[in-house]
């Protein structure tokens, strides 16, 4: 037998060498000093590597209760995308509207008029694309610096170079959505008919954004109205943050909050003052800590003992927010900042001193 390669030695040291090979290897080692030395060398290397890896392990902590998992099916990553479907359909509707409105533009193949460019962008693409058009780039830069909710970062653009200056339309709020709808309404009848589906969708979006009252409010509608009553509406990952009123979420003092959490200290963002503690309408032990990031930005940190099941009637509908476990608490976060920032903030949450 020739000398043993290091891979075989490592498999041997790892106890993963098939028994027939192991017997052969041990027989060889018994009479080959070179390979015995090699084995010791590899043994030391293996131990060293193991020590290095062992020096970077996460802090020991209790395993969260398995039961907590069952109630916590977290958002799938795809969830983030679906709320933007409307943005794409608006872009499509506007683009078609502009295009078909152009005199003589009977069909895509026959026109010589400037072609509209429909761009439904996501954040990844927006930076590069917008370099091409100065006004849009300005808007985009301003937006990127400001702590805006994610949906507005998704911009629907309609570029029509030949259309007397009105080259860029950014749908950022209901006013512009309505404006856009009016543009579509101005299109010839046949066009409006052909765009029926998109226009309907646009209506739905406008209603959502303006929070128009419904004749028979469903719970979802009522929630939307409440959210719309607070300006500006705040979107978290496509869902509306519920404003908390003293009536539904009574303010409590810290001692009560601790009691409700099963004698756990409430958690929050270190270094930020606590505006108030509130109790959920249901009795599932949920409390919220409200902290002011600045004078106009309040971050809500919802928390409850991980061992408590959320009650469907608790008035607590935040299961789609970001969540993590801090000690024995399940913690979720909401606030009028970008999703990325919420994520970072959630990571910083600690028991309040």
């Amino acid at each position: 037998m020739s000398h043993v390669d290091e891979g075989t030695l490592h498999a041997y040291l790892d106890g993963e060498l098939p028994s027939s090979e192991r017997v052969a290897l041990e027989a060889h080692l018994a009479q080959c000093a070179t390979c015995r030395a090699g084995l010791e060398e590899e043994r030391a290397l293996r131990a060293r590597a193991s020590t290095l890896l062992g020096s970077v392990r996460p802090p020991e902590r209790a395993i969260p209760p398995f039961e907590a998992l069952r109630r916590a099916p977290r958002r799938s990553p795809w969830h983030v995308r679906t709320p933007f479907a409307w943005a794409a359909s608006i872009a499509l509707a506007l683009g078609l509207g502009y295009y078909l409105r152009t005199p003589g533009a009977a069909g895509p193949a026959t026109t010589n008029a400037p072609q509209p460019v429909i761009v439904a962008e996501d954040r990844a693409a927006s930076g590069e694309r917008q370099k091409a058009s100065a006004p849009a780039a300005t808007v985009s830069e301003g937006r990127r610096r400001a702590p805006v909710p994610r949906p507005t970062e998704q911009v629907a653009h309609v570029n029509q170079p030949g259309d007397s200056g009105a080259a860029n339309v950014s749908l950022r709020d209901e006013a512009q959505a309505a404006q856009a709808k009016a543009r579509i309404a101005n299109a010839p009848e046949s066009v409006a008919a052909r765009l029926g589906r998109e226009t309907l969708r646009l209506d739905a979006v406008t209603v959502t954004a303006q929070g128009e009252p419904a004749a028979a409010p469903t719970p979802a509608r009522a929630e939307r109205e409440r959210a719309a009553a607070r300006a500006p509406s705040v979107f978290i990952d496509g869902s509306v943050v519920q404003p908390l009123t003293a009536k539904t979420w009574p303010v409590i003092d810290r001692r009560v909050a601790t009691l409700l959490l099963g004698d756990e200290a409430p958690v929050g963002l270190p270094g930020l003052s606590v505006r108030d503690f509130r109790r959920a309408p249901g009795n599932d032990g949920t409390i919220v800590v409200e902290q002011a990031l600045d004078s106009s930005t309040v971050i809500q940190i919802f928390q409850r003992p991980a061992s408590n099941a959320a009650r469907p009637d608790s008035g607590y509908a935040f299961s789609r927010l970001f969540a993590r476990f801090v000690g024995r608490l399940r913690v979720e976060i909401a606030g009028p900042v970008s999703v990325d920032s919420l994520n970072r903030l959630l990571e910083q949450v600690k028991p309040l001193p």
Binding site: Y12, E16, S55, F66, R70, G271, E347
Partner: protein, 168 residues
């Protein structure tokens, strides 16, 4: 029949968190992702829960890394926030340095070598590592030998080279 996930959870959770930690380098995030992986396992009910979990966890960590790179520029937003790191006590700073060094060393490994090493360290057998990485079982020993050697060499080189390597 699918494994008993509660049982796998008890046995595998710490290893999965450790595995994830060495990919995302954030204990909280690692714990979150591990829970996410188990939550998905509850939905999918895979045949081989343990193997499935590590595949899912590796994918999530990769997505996470991509997202983190993309989000880097957004973090300027939080610059005004209290700096948690600067208030860390001395021993945590040491742990930080060590973590940075080992992390830099791990990043010198090829992705496949690194994956094999982390899976081995998470308690996977050669058979499981082979299934996970697509390597032949007979090649795992050689892969791990190379991975360990490179890890140790890169770490030592980082110590000699001083800060600029460790920072990488």
């Amino acid at each position: 029949m699918p494994d008993d996930i509660a049982e796998v959870y008890r046995n595998t959770y710490p290893a999965l968190v450790r595995f994830l930690y060495r990919k995302v380098w954030d204990a909280e995030r690692a714990a979150d992702l591990a829970q996410e992986a188990f939550s998905r396992a509850l939905v999918h009910r895979p045949q081989n829960t343990r193997g499935w979990l590590f595949v899912v966890a590796a994918n999530m960590a990769r997505d996470e890394a991509r997202r983190a790179a993309r989000e880097k520029r957004h973090l300027t937003l939080l610059k005004g926030e209290p700096d948690v790191v600067s208030s860390a006590p001395e021993d945590e700073i040491d742990a930080d340095t060590q973590r940075t060094r080992v992390r830099a060393a791990l990043e010198q490994l090829s992705p496949r070598d690194r994956e094999s090493l982390l899976l081995w360290d998470a308690g996977m057998s050669y058979d499981e590592i082979a299934a996970q990485t697509g390597l032949a079982r007979g090649a795992i020993g050689t892969t791990l030998a190379r991975a360990r050697r490179r890890l140790v060499e890169a770490y030592d080189a980082g110590l000699e080279g001083g800060e600029h390597v460790a920072r990488g």
